[in-house]
Every structure is written in C-alpha cells, then in structure tokens.
C-alpha cells in the first residue's frame, strides 16, 4: 500500500522498531562488554577519570579462559545438552502420540483426559518438588542426569500435547481416512501420513521443549549435587557467585556461551517455529 511521506515512515516505523531492538538487545551488548572487560575496569567508580561503561580499551579473554579452564563449564554444557535432548525426545514422543489420540480419536474420557493433562501444566513446581525428591530417592537416581530427564517431562509433556493437539486438529481428516482406505492401519496412517505432515508442529514443540529444558533451574538446583553433574544455569550461578569476587566477567561469559546452543537451534528453525505456532494457534 502507499505509505505516505518518508518522515512518517521514520516516525512510525523505523524509530519504534529501533527502540525495540535497542531495548531487547542492550542487555546482550552489556553481557558482551562485561565479558571482555578486565576486572579492574569492572569495579571502577563513576568518578574515575577513565570510567567508560560502554566499551573497554583493553579487551581481555581472561574471563572466558577462566570459565573454560577453571570451571567445569564444558561438562555442564554437555550435561545440559544431554538432559535437554533426551527429555525433549521423551516428551515429544509422548506428547505427539497423546496429542494425536486426543485430537483425532473418539473414545470415552477423551475430554476428561485432555483437561486433566492440561491441568497438570498448572500444578506448581514448588509443590511437587519435595514429593519428587522422595521419588528420586526411591528410584536411586539422585544426582544423575536421569533425575532431570524423568522430571522435566512433567512440564514438557502437557505443553507438547497441547501444542500438538492444536496442530493435528488443523490437518484435514480426509488425509488419514484416505490412507486407511488405501490400506493403511490406523497407526500406519498416523505414522506415515499425519506425523510427516505435522513435522513443523513437532519441530516447534521440540524447540520449545528444548528451550524449557535448557532453562530449567529449580529441579536442577536441588536434584543434582556433584559439580560434574550440574547444568549450565545451576553451574554458572552456584560456582561463579562466590563471596566478594562475584565473577561478573566469567558469569557473563557463561551466560553468553551457555545461550549459544539454543540460539543456534532457533536460528535454524525459526521458520518452522513460526509455522508451528501458526498451526497450533489456528487449531
């Protein structure tokens, strides 16, 4: 459409967009600057003649080096990756088939079960927490990745199920019916026809679940204890916040590097993610 005068576009479009980008990304800039800033500059008072908060003249990789060499950061990354991946896969598997059943099959209790699964999403983590600790004790999986791999699905599955239900509902029924007439059993129609079509939705749910796992803090904080078992958020906070030397530089380095895997996942799949959201919100 015709946009009108140029200055109007600046006023109503570029200016607000620029402001949004600035506001949303400034903390990351700040993280980067903090990461490469030497300690001496970090804790300089304002009245110091060389006070320059937005850049540094002596960039250093000390903090990154400290992070990678002095802490178990690499181990934490691997742990988090492993836990997030397995938890996501389990949740996706459960969520996809459960979502299919709830969206596509008619059976007694369908409505009740759907609601029940959704309601589980609302149960506060802080309530489950102590009883879960007892379960973890009974299965003897305390301080192993399995403590998280088995508990993360509690909040991932309801979410995946819900998202996939919406997505499946948007797929025309005829495709499946046609497949069944073509000679496919119900489960074959589900696996060969519906699931491949739902790939954007599955990816989207997967990305989301992966992010949530990567993000999780409370369970990871209390169900794991050995330093070599920790996840990135817990490891970084528990081992880099110590006493008077709050390791801001390394903390920020950890935050940045710890975010990279998720950022990569998103940059590859953002299109699918958007498509998946569209599918699920339409349903």
């Amino acid at each position: 459409m015709i946009e009108g005068a140029r200055w109007r576009k600046w006023l109503w479009f570029y200016l607000p967009l620029g402001a949004f980008i600035l506001a949303l990304l400034f903390p990351f800039y700040w993280m980067v600057v903090t990461t490469v800033r030497p300690d001496g500059e970090l804790y300089r008072p304002w009245n110091h003649p060389l006070y320059s908060p937005f850049w540094t003249s002596n960039p250093t990789f000390e903090h990154v080096k400290d992070l990678l060499q002095e802490t178990l950061f690499n181990t934490w990354m691997l742990n988090t990756m492993f836990i997030a991946l397995v938890a996501t896969l389990i949740s996706l598997f459960c969520g996809v088939i459960a979502g299919y059943a709830l969206a596509r099959l008619t059976f007694r209790w369908a409505g009740v079960l759907g609601t029940a699964i959704f309601v589980t999403y609302l149960v506060p983590q802080t309530l489950l927490f102590i009883p879960l600790a007892e379960i973890i004790r009974d299965y003897r999986i305390g301080d192993t990745p399995w403590a998280l791999i088995l508990t993360y699905p509690t909040f991932l599955i309801p979410f995946c199920t819900w998202l996939m239900m919406g997505y499946f509902k948007a797929i025309p029924r005829e495709l499946e019916e046609c497949a069944r007439i073509d000679g496919a059993a119900r489960w074959q129609a589900m696996v060969y026809i519906i699931f491949p079509i739902a790939v954007p939705g599955i990816l989207s749910a997967g990305i989301f679940a992966f992010t949530l796992s990567w993000n999780e803090f409370i369970y990871a904080l209390v169900f794991l204890s050995s330093p070599e078992q920790k996840t990135v958020p817990v490891g970084v906070t528990s081992e880099l916040i110590r006493g008077d030397v709050f390791f801001w530089g390394s903390l920020m380095a950890g935050a940045l590097i710890g975010s990279i895997p998720v950022a990569i996942v998103y940059s590859f799949f953002v299109e699918h993610y958007v498509a998946g959201m569209t599918g699920s919100v339409k349903g």
């Binding site: 102590i130 305390g142 204890s225 330093p227």
Partner: protein, 434 residues
C-alpha cells in the same frame, strides 16, 4: 551412573567385605570410600584452592578416603540440605550456618565422639559453638569456624570528619555517619535477605538496646520498649548515614561498594581487607595509595545495654542418610587435627576464627594488627534466639529474616510501632506453632 554401579558392586560384595573386617585387618576404607563434602564458596578463594589442590589429596593418602568437595553459593546451602534430606541422597557432610543444625537435627548423625575430643584438646569450644551444635541430647554437628563480623572502615575518611578513633557508641557512629554521608561517603549496610551481613548486624543492634526475641524462659519478648528504641534509632540512622541501596544488597554488594570507594564503612567479614591485600595494585584510594593501608576493623558499637556481636558460625553435619558416615567422621577428625586445620586457618588470614579457645593464642593473630580484632570474635558472640536457646524456633526466625525485616521496614518508612508489632506477631506465630 558410575556411582550407581559402584554401589551395586558394594552391595554385592558386602559379604566379602565383612569377611575382611572379621579378619582383624586395619580398618579398610579401601579405595571405594568417597566422602561428598559440600561447603560454601569461601570468601577467601585461596582456602578452597588449598583444600582442593593439596589438603584433600593428602587426606586421600592418609585415610584412603576420597573427598569430593562441592562448593556452592552460601544462600543455596539450605535448599540443598532440605532436598538432600528429603531425597535421601546427596552430600555426606554438609556445612551449615549458625543454628541451622537445629533445623536439620532429625537427620543428623550424633558426632559427639568427634566434636568432644576436638573441643577438649583445643581449649574448649566457645559457648556459641556449643549452643549452636547441641540440642541437649546429641551433638548435631562439628564446629568449624566463626566468621567474625566487624566493621571495616576507611581510617582516613573517619579522621577527616573528626574521628581519630572509631566511634564507640551507636550515637557516635550515627554522628560520624551523618557527616560522612554529607560528603558522599555513606555507611553501607545490607538489610536484605542474605545469610551473612544482614543478621550479623540486626541481631546485635537489637541486643545492645536491650531488645530480645524471647526471654530466658522462652516467652516471646520482642515487643518491648527497648526493641522500639532500637528501631527508632535505626530509622533515623538509616536515613542520615546509610547508602539507601543497602535494602537489596546481598553479602557481596557491600564488598564491591567498599572496594570501589563508594562507602566509608560496612559490617563485614575480613574479606574486604583480604581482597585488598591480595591485589594491592587494583584497589587504590582516591589519593592513589593502596587501599589496604587505609582499612581498619572494629566491633559494632556499644548500645545502652552493652556491646554484642553475632558472628556467622559454621559447622559440619554428618547426614544420617549417608552411606559413608564412618568415613565422614574419620575425615572430620583428620581435618580438625591441629596440624591440618592450622594450614587452612592460616590461609584464611583471620577471616575465620576457630571455634575453640586455644587458637586465640596462635601467632598468626600477631602478624597483622588490622586483623587483631577478629581474634576474639568467637568469645563475644551470642546465638540467635537470645535470650532463649538457639533452637528450631530461633532458627526459623533467623531464616525468615524477621528481625532484619523489622529494621528494613522501618528503614523503608513504616512507623517503628508498625514494624515492631509486625515482627513480634511473626515471632509469636513461630513460637506458638506446634
């Protein structure tokens, strides 16, 4: 998962192990024994380094026990101990603060055998150590250290406002602070929810005005004229003399603020001073002289009812769910052996004061006069819940930060009456609950 299989192996080989023990061989912890020890991230990082790099390997050599040391942020210790107890798995030895051993007493192994011997051999534990670690029936934990809380202050700045000697009473301190704040150099004090610097300030303040949480008979006595006085004093003191950011500080903020030269004094452990010693080139005064030379320590000032201290106290609990209780006790015995403990103590440079009297005579205290005030920290300290015992109820009051919040409320502008009434109500609820 390596642990899991090892545990399985141990179960399977239990019979064999019994056989070895029956044959009267030396107590074998063999290579299998691993003790998981969790403690806070030391404010003197060199000490954790010492433990990891040299002492623990030595313990391994001496005892055949592998010690797996985990250090966490001090504020995370309580969540960890709760979940460890509930999940019946986790570290074998837990560092606990203050009277927390009383909270987790049900899950503690009686360590009187270990603690009694150490206390007796080292000149006797201070009262505070005994009160915090014993519930009258058993010894809940082995006293480790007292972190002296002293006011670190900038000598030259106090001199500039006319105090060649550190103020001895709260009134004088108020006066000095007022003048300092006028010059843009306020006093820094946290009233936030943080385990160290907040209660070590608020409890002695209460006591020195004569306020007390409960009386000697255990009756709640917080709502008193004396408490009111202390709150009124604090309200004015805060406004006149403090950096108002302190309401949200944790234990680290005042260190940074002090080191960057924005505050003139703060109640803290010795860590600020020790940090300036460690990096004299980095921390300079405005006159470009090393900051370390301008730092002095002082106990909290005297109030109408006397001078008090509340110091962070640390002890180690052996957990009853632990499968390695015996090894854990062996390890605690070993590390409290004066030969070993001394090395750690020296590395602390006075930041930690040992819990037993004999260490007051240690020559390290003579090395640096700036650190001398910390020597007797353990002797002067009271325990939370005073004048009652530091039991579970007192621990709950402490961990809910009720006393600290009472002052924080007043500092934020609630009326002192309101603040005291609220705090008394909360304390009352805790003590009356079953």
């Amino acid at each position: 998962m390596a642990r899991f299989t090892r545990r399985k192996f141990l179960q399977a080989s239990g019979a064999g192990l019994a056989g070895v023990l029956a044959s009267h061989q030396a107590p074998v912890f063999a290579q299998q024994s691993t003790v998981h020890w969790i403690k806070w991230n030391d404010f003197v990082p060199a000490s954790d380094e010492l433990l990891r790099k040299s002492m623990l390997p030595e313990a391994m050599k001496a005892l055949g026990i592998k010690v797996n040391l985990e250090t966490v942020n001090g504020n995370d210790l309580q969540p960890r101990v709760t979940s460890a107890i509930q999940s019946g798995s986790g570290p074998d030895v837990f560092m606990l603060f203050n009277n927390h051993p009383h909270i987790y007493g049900a899950s503690a192994v009686d360590v009187s055998d270990v603690a009694d011997a150490i206390g007796k051999a080292q000149g006797g534990y201070y009262n505070l150590a005994k009160a915090n670690t014993s519930d009258g029936k058993k010894t809940l934990s082995v006293p480790w250290a007292v972190i002296g809380a002293m006011i670190a202050y900038r000598k030259s700045w106090f001199e500039e406002v006319g105090f060649s000697k550190f103020p001895e009473t709260w009134e004088q301190y108020h006066d000095a602070g007022k003048k300092l704040k006028a010059k843009g150099r306020p006093i820094g004090q946290t009233l936030g929810h943080t385990f160290g610097d907040a209660p070590t300030f608020s409890y002695p303040l209460l006591w020195s005005f004569g306020g007390r949480e409960v009386d000697e008979k255990g009756k709640v006595a917080l709502d008193s004229k004396e408490t009111m006085e202390s709150v009124k004093f604090m309200q004015a003191f805060w406004k006149d003399a403090h950096d108002e950011g302190g309401l949200a500080w944790d234990d680290t903020n005042n260190n940074r603020a002090f080191l960057s030269g924005t505050i003139a004094a703060t109640l803290n452990g010795a860590s600020i001073y020790i940090e300036t010693l460690r990096k004299p080139d980095q921390y300079k005064t405005e006159k470009n002289t090393p900051m370390k030379d301008d730092i002095r320590h002082s106990p909290l000032p005297r109030g109408p009812k006397g001078q008090f201290g509340f110091h962070l106290f640390q002890s180690h609990m052996v957990m009853s769910y632990s499968k390695n209780q015996k090894a854990a006790k062996e390890f605690l015995k070993w590390i409290h052996d004066p030969k070993n403990y001394e090395r750690w103590f020296v590395s602390q440079k006075g930041y930690s004061t040992p819990p037993a009297a004999q260490w007051e005579k240690h020559k390290m205290w003579d090395e640096d006069p700036v650190m001398a005030p910390f020597k007797v920290a353990g002797r002067l300290g009271l325990t939370p819940g005073y004048a009652g015992p530091p039991n579970r109820k007192a621990a709950e009051v402490l961990t809910k930060y009720i006393i600290t919040d009472m002052y924080a409320k007043a500092a934020q502008g609630s009326s002192p009456e309101e603040a005291v009434k609220w705090a008394a109500g909360e304390v009352g609820k805790i003590y009356s609950a079953t």
